[in-house]
């Protein structure tokens, strides 16, 4: 029997890392993107749990870099069908899983301009498990309809598309996406949060099953791995994040 910690013993970042690792189970090659300590941590934990069978690329890492053919190689992996999972966020994400990384207001003279679409308008089509990840779960982010479609959540049948939204993970819940119905559904709510809170903070309609389970916490062994080992691996790329979330491990190292 696994030994589970109490919910208040677990930091949100640790929980999110554990959820993401679970979503990556069975993948052969995964990569995190730029400025993504939690997805990166999820990848590293998933590799650990795979016994080293999983290939993990952490963008920006020296120790966990698998790209030796320049910045284009990640995209080539995706089109080759080699990249099983990737992560996308978005200034806005809407109920059809469309993502907006460009801005609010009329294009191009946006009222608020964000950096831009990065690789989203490509990877979302070609990576089977795209995990949508945001650390902010509000109606500002999860909108009815995005102002600009950096990349669409679904495509018409004639469009070549082997990838798409696989799950959505936020600090309060985990969702799934049904591409035929073009709609999200609630999978689980994290301990300490409620279905009502999810609905209050989500600007689009989602399917809610009669019984919504609580998100399964990582067991104590997993938590120890995250704190003692994954923390150090994350720190290589994300020292500020690691210092904030894993002060004990960082002080010990």
């Amino acid at each position: 029997m696994s030994d589970f910690p109490a919910p208040d013993e677990i930091r949100t970042e640790e929980l999110l890392i554990a959820i993401i690792a679970r979503l990556l189970e069975g993948c052969r090659l995964v990569s995190s993107g730029a400025s993504s300590p939690i997805p990166g941590g999820g990848c590293l934990l998933a590799r650990h749990q795979s016994g080293g069978a999983m290939h993990v690329n952490v963008l920006g890492s020296r120790a966990n870099n698998l790209m030796t053919n320049g910045g284009v190689e990640l995209f080539d992996w995706a089109a080759q069908g080699r990249l099983d999972a990737f992560f996308l966020g978005g200034g806005q994400i809407d109920g059809q899983a469309n993502i907006n990384l460009v801005g609010i207001g009329d294009y191009p003279q946006a009222k608020i301009r964000w950096p831009g679409s990065f690789g989203s308008a490509y990877l979302y089509y070609l990576v089977p498990r795209v995990i949508l990840f945001r650390e902010e779960h509000t109606r500002r982010v999860f909108v009815e309809k995005v102002d600009f479609i950096s990349t669409p959540g679904t495509s018409d049948p004639e469009v070549y598309r082997t990838g798409g939204p696989y799950a959505m993970v936020s600090p309060i819940c985990q969702m799934g996406f049904d591409k035929d119905r073009r709609k999200f559904h609630l999978v689980s709510v994290h301990p300490g949060h409620t279905v009502e809170e999810v609905l209050d903070n989500t600007g689009f309609d989602i399917d809610v099953p009669e019984h919504v389970p609580e998100t399964i916490l990582p067991d104590r062994a997993t938590l120890d791995i995250i704190r003692q080992q994954i923390s150090l691996e994350i720190a290589e790329c994300y020292p500020r994040f690691a210092a904030k979330v894993f002060p004990e491990a960082m002080n010990a190292a």
Binding site: A34, S35, G60, R62, T68, N69, G70, G71, V72, F75, A79, L101, V102, G103, Y107, P108, Q109, A110, K111, R113, W114, P115, G116, S117, F118, G119, S120, A121, Y122, L123, Y124, Y125, L126, F148, I149, S150, T151, P152, S155, D156, E158, V159, Y160, R240
Partner: protein, 278 residues
């Protein structure tokens, strides 16, 4: 021997005429920041700026200085230091024409330039507003499919100049780029590559087995100049980290046009730069 090594970065910047199409890489590749400042000093105008595939401080300074007419990029961001203030301002007031792209599309356009082919097909993008706003991209049926199979066609990008910062170059103009393979694509697509380096070295990088594989041959290079800490205040490879205090102060200054002008006066046209970089 062939005049490829310039005495100063300003002399290198003088090669770039107004209206040139230039391409710059992402920060991890090595950014020619001192060359960028020299371009602002010389007052270059009307640039068509292509970013492979994104830009940061380099693009923001060029935009803020009024040097850029059109930008083609997948993102402009200062990363952990936040949004790019002059970029955001120029988008807001409509003074900058933007061609939003997605990273692999710019890679494909540059690779088409490198291969000397007029265009390259690429998956993805269909149904996005990125594609909807690019009238220079096309969608066509895949001629090798019997079924309906639309695919995006991206025209080749052939810049006049690629601008990079690298670790070292020899006096023949060969440049050590190490693992940064995207430089080969940038250089192949561009008419010529202008390079600043931490150090000009003796010998021939192509003849040394340890450096040959990671060397951009001089045949692509239009000019080289030494610029120690030439990527400052950005990080450069494993050589030096970003100057975080400077980046933070830049973001604060660049929030307003006036603050940005003060920044230029101090660190670009003024003489505080050398001292700050030490």
């Amino acid at each position: 021997m062939t005049g490829i090594v310039h005495d100063s970065v300003d002399s290198l910047a003088a090669l770039i005429p107004d209206g040139a199409k230039i391409v710059v890489p992402a920060d991890y590749t090595g950014i020619a920041m001192e060359l960028t400042r020299a371009m602002v000093r010389r007052g270059v105008r009307d640039l068509y700026l292509v970013c492979l595939p994104v830009t940061g401080l380099q693009g923001d300074i060029l935009i803020g200085a009024g040097a850029v007419k059109t930008i083609e990029t997948s993102a402009v961001t200062l990363g952990e230091f936040g949004g790019a203030p002059r970029f955001q301002a120029a988008i807001g007031d409509g003074s900058l024409k933007i061609k939003d792209a997605t990273c692999p599309a710019i890679h494909a356009g540059i690779q088409a330039g490198q291969k000397g082919i007029p265009y390259m097909p690429l998956r993805g993008m269909i149904g996005s507003d990125v594609l909807a706003n690019r009238d220079d991209w096309k969608v066509a049926q895949n001629p090798f499919s019997d079924e309906e199979d639309p695919i995006v066609l991206l025209p080749a990008i052939r810049p006049d100049f690629a601008l990079i910062h690298a670790k070292k170059a020899d006096r023949h103009g060969n440049v050590y780029i190490g693992i940064r393979r995207e430089v080969m694509a940038l250089a192949g697509a561009s008419r010529q590559t202008l390079v600043t380096v931490e150090e000009i070295v003796d010998g021939n990088l192509l003849r040394d087995d340890e450096t040959a594989a990671g060397t951009l041959p001089a045949l692509y290079v239009g000019g080289v100049a030494e610029a120690r800490k030439g990527a400052w205040p950005l990080a450069f490879w494993d050589e030096y980290p970003a100057d975080e205090a400077h980046m933070t102060s830049y973001v604060a200054a660049a929030r307003s046009a006036e603050g940005f002008q003060d920044y230029l006066d101090q660190f670009v046209t003024g003489d505080s730069r050398a001292a700050a970089a030490e």
